[in-house]
């Protein structure tokens, strides 16, 4: 598994970054790395990684399942925590990564949970990607050459593979995505501590967050978008939620 550790001496906290899924990874990569560097500059050591079967990690994408990817989050969280058990651990997920992080957090792993643009279910996230793929297909075809969305869905529902942005989605992945939902109590903005008694924050991201999330298009003009306000606000939340000082001093 490919990981990048943004190391910090004597970190005040550790953050496991669970990034977005498949093709979404590529578009959000620059702000995601900048966020990791920002956290490290604030004394929070963080680890980002590629899901098995995606990006630089090995494995065959079409053989992977949500269970595999949850397992990865759990193991990496354990590894990160073991580096210095006294430092609190935050799980932070973006889009589908938020679902994975929430699932693992629900099992008792982590001292805080930060969710950016979490979908209600994995299917919601996959459906958005699929719609973008269909609109791309339609942009280069005319009249009868354009297949309706129902044809794409039928292909997956019948258990066949469908290629989306170079990844082979299996019928099983699609079926499983319906059942893979945000744990109860974490579906909506829940800045107040929920039943699990550990801090959780949900941040909705809109079109101004492109390319951190994918909007209608990701052009060259959005690459250098300034996310410092979002970053500062979330570091502030982490510091308050965990009662730590991002400059390294006691809170």
């Amino acid at each position: 598994m490919y990981t990048v550790l943004h190391g910090v001496p004597n970190p005040v906290a550790r953050v496991l970054l669970v990034g977005p899924f498949a093709s979404e990874r590529h578009h959000s990569y620059i702000p995601w790395v900048r966020w990791a560097r920002y956290l490290a500059a604030k004394g929070m050591e963080c680890l980002r990684y590629d899901y098995r079967g995606i990006g630089e990690s090995t494995g065959v994408f079409e053989e992977m399942s949500f269970d595999n990817w949850i397992e990865d989050v759990g193991l990496l969280a354990g590894w990160l925590k073991s580096r210095s058990p006294e430092a609190p651990l935050v799980l932070h997920g973006l889009e589908l990564g938020a679902l994975l992080a929430a699932k693992v957090f629900e099992t008792g792993v982590g001292d805080g949970l930060l969710l950016w643009a979490p979908p209600a279910s994995a299917n919601q996230a996959l459906r958005m990607m699929l719609l973008r793929r269909i609109s791309m297909d339609h942009a280069f075809k005319f009249g009868d050459e354009r297949k309706p969305a129902s044809d794409y869905l039928r292909q997956l529902e019948n258990g066949h593979f469908l290629e989306v942005d170079g990844y082979q989605w299996s019928g099983k992945l699609w079926r499983d995505s319906f059942k893979f939902q945000m744990p109860a109590g974490m579906e909506h903005d829940s800045n107040a501590a929920p039943a699990c008694r550990r801090p959780i924050r949900t941040v909705k991201l809109d079109k101004h967050a492109v390319p951190l999330i994918k909007g209608s298009s990701v052009g060259f003009e959005a690459i250098n978008r300034d996310f410092s306000e979002l970053f500062a606000d979330n570091v502030q939340w982490i510091a308050q939620a965990l009662a730590i000082d991002p400059t390294g001093r006691p809170w």
């Binding site: 598994m1 490919y2 990981t3 990048v4 550790l5 943004h6 190391g7 093709s23 990874r25 590529h26 578009h27 990569y29 620059i30 790395v33 990791a36 560097r37 490290a40 990684y49 098995r52 995606i54 990006g55 630089e56 090995t58 494995g59 994408f61 397992e71 990865d72 193991l75 990496l76 354990g78 590894w79 791309m136 339609h138 942009a139 280069f140 005319f142 290629e163 942005d165 170079g166 990844y167 082979q168 390319p211 060259f220 003009e221 690459i223 250098n224």
Partner: protein, 329 residues
């Protein structure tokens, strides 16, 4: 999973003061890390802001495949992109189209050639990466060939909002499509009037690079995906045929091969595109560099490379091996 790990290594190069991070794909007979040994290497350049895996991780697939065929492959993130250090230029496209990455990549290529004892490097560049590949090749003595996928030779200008709306309208409306066709007919007439001279927005510096490389006999493979309302490698009516123009200029000594890849899109990330790029590139490499890359043996053994751990680089890309009982490095 383990086999794939054995064929890859995370590396970094310090080029022009910037730490570039990337992945080295070892050759099939070099899984023990003894070195590439006087072969021709392949350097992958992405189209722009995406990380080095490329859309659908297609670059990973190609690099694995070509390394298996005896060509050590390297994929790097450009400064400010992916895992590499540095900043992204404010006007990225202008920077790329002016050959801004040429010098840093020339320095990186020089280091790779020395470190891995390569006979030279072939750059495989996609779209804007192809533009960078041409500029780099023109300034690097170590670049021995080019593979260009969907290159472009003009200076794109930002589209106005009205132009965007008109374009969208023409894609779903029959009347819009007719208006679009008329517009391109008029453009075609203008091309004829101009006697097939490059349009005003042609990237002349890039055309000069091509001309210099092609006339010097550098082997080049160009692959084109189908584009809107075009036929084969020819652009749609009314658009300037840069490849045809450049072929005409290149002269008899040129070694340019142009292939059209049917059934794919601009990213080449789908199954058809991937297979075609792999097949054409492998055949072309064997034909152009086969004697250099062939039976090499392992007599040449450079010192083991321990990169991805450069002192300059505070961030450490690493491979973690997962197992049911935990994680070990």
């Amino acid at each position: 999973m383990k086999a794939a790990i054995e064929t890859r290594e995370l590396i970094s190069v310090d080029a022009a003061g910037c730490c570039l991070r990337g992945t080295y794909h070892r050759c099939g007979d070099d899984s023990q890390g003894s070195g590439a040994g006087n072969r021709t290497g392949v350097l992958f350049l992405n189209h722009g802001f995406l990380p080095r895996a490329a859309p659908g991780d297609s670059a990973v697939y190609w690099a694995d495949a070509l390394a298996q065929s005896g060509y050590p492959c390297f994929r790097f993130d450009l400064p400010g992109f992916g895992d590499s250090d540095g900043n992204v230029p404010a006007q990225l496209l202008d920077f790329i189209n002016a050959g801004g990455y040429g010098s840093i990549l020339s320095a990186a290529i020089k280091q790779l050639v020395e470190r891995f004892h390569l006979s030279g490097i072939v750059i495989l560049g996609h779209c804007a990466g192809a533009v960078t590949a041409l500029f780099t090749a023109a300034s690097s003595k170590d670049c021995t060939g080019l593979v260009l996928t969907d290159p472009y030779f003009f200076l794109p200008s930002e589209r106005t909002r009205i132009r965007e709306e008109l374009s969208r309208w023409s894609s779903w409306s029959r009347i819009g499509a007719m208006v679009s066709n008329i517009y391109y007919c008029l453009k075609y007439i203008r091309l004829l009037v101009r006697r097939n001279r490059p349009p005003r927005n042609a990237n002349l510096a890039l055309l000069r690079c091509w001309n210099q490389l092609a006339s010097s006999g550098m082997p080049m493979l160009v692959m084109k995906a189908p584009s809107l309302k075009s036929h084969g490698i020819k652009p749609r009516m009314g658009e300037f045929d840069y490849l045809g123009y450049l072929e005409g200029l290149s002269g008899r000594g040129s070694r340019v091969v142009i292939k059209f890849v049917e059934g794919t899109d601009h990213s080449f990330a789908g199954a058809v595109g991937r297979a075609a790029i792999r097949q054409h590139t492998e055949q072309w490499l064997n034909a152009s560099f086969g004697t250099e890359s062939g039976d090499r043996g392992l007599e040449s053994c450079p010192a083991p490379v321990r990169s991805g751990r450069s002192d300059r680089c505070a961030e450490v890309p690493q491979v973690l091996h997962l197992n049911p009982s935990g994680i070990s490095r």
